[in-house]
Amino acid sequence: MQLNAEVHDNLMLVKLQADRLDAAVAIEFKDQMRAVTQGGPARVVLDLGQVSFLDSSGLGAVVAAMKHLGNDRRLELADLQPNVEKVFKLTCMDRVFIIHESGDAALASSVNVA
């Protein structure tokens, strides 16, 4: 599991390079998210396009990552694959996050906001 972070103006795009965000990597994911989002722009977009499977441990880890950013910053999501999107929808957590179709769409929205 690896996180690749790029800073674009007022937005940090973090790409999760892993096929699965599950109980086996949930703690590692939380730790790495804390490390890569230390400082940086207020908006953080997590691109999950490579992730084909997420369980409730992975979901909890994404929520924990958002909570860690605090109230002055925000975690958004991009490119949810069908089986990942299903878990967010069933648990109503799709209403808690701003979800973009893709990392590029998130970057485009950044231009509009700025």
Partner: protein, 158 residues
Amino acid sequence: MDIKHRAAAQRLDRSNDQPVCELFWHLKGNPERVRETLQKITQDLSAAGLSEQAIGNAEVVFAEIFNNIVNHAYAGRKDGDIQATAYAGPMALRCVVKDFGHAMPRLELPKGQLPDSSGPLESLPEGGFGWFLIRQLTQGLSYDRFEEQNILTFELPY
């Protein structure tokens, strides 16, 4: 066959249709083996001809059940045995999952209510989704405790 096992078997066979095929998986209860087994399950269900959506649902359900067994029934162990069986019937995948760990509290399945995510950031739930997901995606979910075994039976509609 003892009474409890017969009851579980009868639940699986309550319609008279013949199972199309039977699949069996065995794993040790730890996150790495769970991950490997889920990948095997999706491959086997794909080979059995299930739709992508049905396979996706099965993967979520088995993941949550296995994780629950690892974290609770086998809390503190990494080598507990888990056995899962699936029979592909015409309308649903009928499944039995057994483990030999601690019993469910009060010998009951958790209610699996959806955690409240309507509050402020600090109060957002980071867990408690597992049984909710299992209940959303299965039907006929039931739990038996017999001779130090936890036996979970359920159906996954196609």
